[in-house]
Symmetry: C2
Subunit: 153 residues, 2 copies
């Protein structure tokens, strides 16, 4: 992605200044590698009445992680964009009982390349992303989202 780990740190710091819920959820780490992105949050700030992860927090973290990946990926390609989620389907597969991470990877090149071409030609495009939250090695949540981007005027 041509992004350095330092970019992740700076992006998360900026996010905290823009989205109060990022601070409230105590999102404490954003990691990047060539394939994707991980956002981490502690259980304590995101707990529910049953002592497990609040579904609203899980939905928010997974939704945000896809948004971060798409924003940072486009930036790494030299495109400063407004990114929005258009729709998502979320499956809650099991309770989350510890600090948790949402992980999202870039789609394969047969999806990514035409998307990038469309962004450069039309200035806008949609990309499907799949986000997961794991719990003790099993999938606790799966989000299939469609994100929309347009180049900032």
């Amino acid at each position: 992605m041509n992004l350095k780990p330092d970019d992740a740190e700076a992006f998360l710091s900026w996010l905290r200044t823009q989205i109060p819920l990022v601070g409230a959820m105590q999102i404490d780490q954003l990691t990047l590698d060539d394939q994707g992105l991980t956002l981490s949050a502690p259980l304590a700030a995101n707990i529910n009445d049953k002592g497990t992860g609040f579904a609203g927090s899980l939905a928010a973290l997974s939704t945000l992680s896809g948004w971060c990946l798409m924003t940072l990926y486009l930036r790494s390609q030299g495109l400063e964009c407004d990114v929005m989620i258009a729709e998502s389907q979320i499956k809650y597969l099991q309770p989350v009982t510890a600090d948790f991470k949402a992980c999202v990877s870039l789609p394969d090149d047969d999806v990514l390349a035409p998307f990038l071409l469309r962004m450069r030609e039309k200035g806008r495009g949609k990309l499907p992303l799949q986000v997961e939250i794991q719990e003790q090695g099993k999938m606790a949540l799966q989000l299939n989202g469609v994100y929309y981007a347009r180049i900032r005027c």
Copy 2:
């Protein structure tokens, strides 16, 4: 639903003690009537980098409102249950630019009556609920969720 407005106030106060994000999002009102439930939150605590409602907050408020309705409806029928969301599909239709409310109604009796019968007979059941967030008279978000309940042992 056989629920008094006072029940709504007490339920929201209890929620604040159980789910830190309810306080962080400054969810400030829960209203109940015979047909459904409304949860309100201010834009300021739930804003994003574009000055509109953060998708994660919108997802969390709409997810929570269905959970509240199902919990309170079952309680009104004499059933103390654990309620969980099983899955949801969310469409983000337009930005939210002011304080917002998630509104959810009970389904029609042809869905509700068999669900209640199953709850009484089997101690567990699933119910589909549709939640909306409006923006200036138009739908800004629509969530179709499936919630699961089981009677507390």
